[in-house]
Symmetry: C2
Subunit: 285 residues, 2 copies
């Protein structure tokens, strides 16, 4: 119940310097707010592992490739603060846009290869915006650990690479996807779904499970597995599969033959809402 | 006389964690070795201001746009270590290429605008390589202060911007240019000059002084000042002026009318050696 809201970089640093000076480890949970059970899992994990938990709430304009998506991204600060209090978060950092970007940045993170496929291919500049804001938050908070969700698997792979390539002294912790009872991955964007859309939205998860089943059964031709699984998508005018890809879990490059663990990832448009999901798949034996 | 050479990131961090734990401030002097009086000025300044001085010696392949320049860049490690010992440096970090780049980096620093002119225009990718390695060194050493030479004014402006845009918690200290008695700026590349080349190499400084004189006299048309100053360059087949520009000292953008302090910067080829230099110029009153 101690969650204080901090709005400036200077105030956050001052607050965290005190913890650091007292030898308390810092855990960072970067979010864009609209906190849900997925975020709760991140925060609870951080709470167990760190002496001081910092949740950041910042809808980062740099990572939105579509103006309308940025505009309609859900903003629920009061409810988020209640959630943070109930989870015993120590500090909430909720800066304004001009605190994070006093002027348009001249230096940003360039991401090669890892952003070429999946969401990176369909959202130009998205992951460079993510990598840039996460690098900034890591510099501001200087945590021992930072927590990210497996749902954004490509994002987490890219952040691991930012940390490795720039030698940032932090451990990246990846927390499993939290799902609704029917399997739909929990997402801030689910609130946009109408009742009918919500019902068919689970199709994405079902397609991924179909891929997982084929691979567990020993199928090795990635293109064929994809084709057969995608055919399970119900015929519905509101559904459009943006991508369905099988990639190497480390470097996020597409695989053709399945000879080891792969990640299957998909993006599905349900009406005007874009949902993503992924599953780790293991061949038999 | 305590300078120990450290070759790995892990060993450097362990060494510096001890200093940090004891409340000792860390000063970082990043160099490519071939230490000369310019570096000495950086190290002496760091020695006065910091409890623990770290000099890094790393010829960063990522910032070389020409293979032959990388190959013939002077490497004088033993002499450099003597210099560091004589200046009471605490730690020399001299990693191998594969310690800094275990694999080709997927994430690098993208630099917009600030690298569009001067050296950035003539050395594609150079400043992104510089920004990337300096960001890495700052993450590895986590110094309170880092020292750079005014001679590489565009580099220093870009590093200031890296620090600001990514919120890196470090103070950047800029140290004035050190010159030979005739005015030639001291540079690791000066060793490549033949005796005849050395004599005419000072022409670059003389051209810059000519610009400074025109501006001090109240001239405001940047193009005209440039043209007249460049005309002072001696007719010599071995000399080629790559650029001569008047820029805003903060954002490194060219100015047309001189209404406040400007930096004049030039690059001169002397035979097969490329030299750079710059001067801050102030209009009268």
């Amino acid at each position: 119940m101690t969650a204080g809201v901090v709005e400036t970089v200077a105030a956050l640093r001052e607050r965290l310097d005190r913890s650091r000076g007292a030898g308390i480890s810092i855990g960072l949970v970067p979010t864009m707010g609209a906190l849900h059970a997925g975020h709760t899992a991140l925060i609870e994990r951080a709470r167990r592992e760190c002496g001081c938990v910092v949740v950041t709430i910042f809808v980062n304009p740099l990572q939105f490739d579509r103006e309308d998506d940025l505009r309609r991204y859900p903003r629920t600060l009061e409810a988020d603060l209640d959630t943070c209090r109930s989870l015993d978060v120590d500090v909430v950092f909720a800066p304004r846009d001009d605190e994070m970007y006093p002027s348009p940045p001249a230096c940003t993170v360039r991401v090669d290869r890892l952003a070429d496929h999946l969401c990176g291919r369909h959202r130009p500049g998205h992951f460079e915006g993510v990598a840039t804001v996460v690098l900034k938050l890591l510099q501001i908070a200087q945590p021992q650990r930072a927590y990210f969700g497996e749902k954004d698997a490509q994002q987490t792979a890219i952040i691991r690479r930012v940390v490795r390539d720039f030698n940032v002294p932090v451990d990246i912790v990846e927390v499993p996807i939290v799902r609704e009872p029917d399997g739909l991955a929990i997402s801030s964007r689910n609130v946009h779904l109408s009742r009918g859309e919500r019902r068919v939205a689970v199709s994405l998860y079902r397609v991924l499970c179909e891929v997982q089943r084929h691979i567990a059964a020993g199928r090795t031709d990635a293109a064929e597995v994809r084709r057969q699984a995608a055919a399970c998508l119900p015929a519905d005018d509101g559904l459009r599969l943006e991508y369905l890809e099988l990639v190497d879990p480390g470097n996020m490059q597409p695989v053709e033959r399945i000879t080891g663990p792969v990640r299957v990832a998909g993006a599905l448009w349900v009406g005007a809402t874009r949902l993503i999901d992924n599953l780790l798949c293991k061949p038999p034996g």
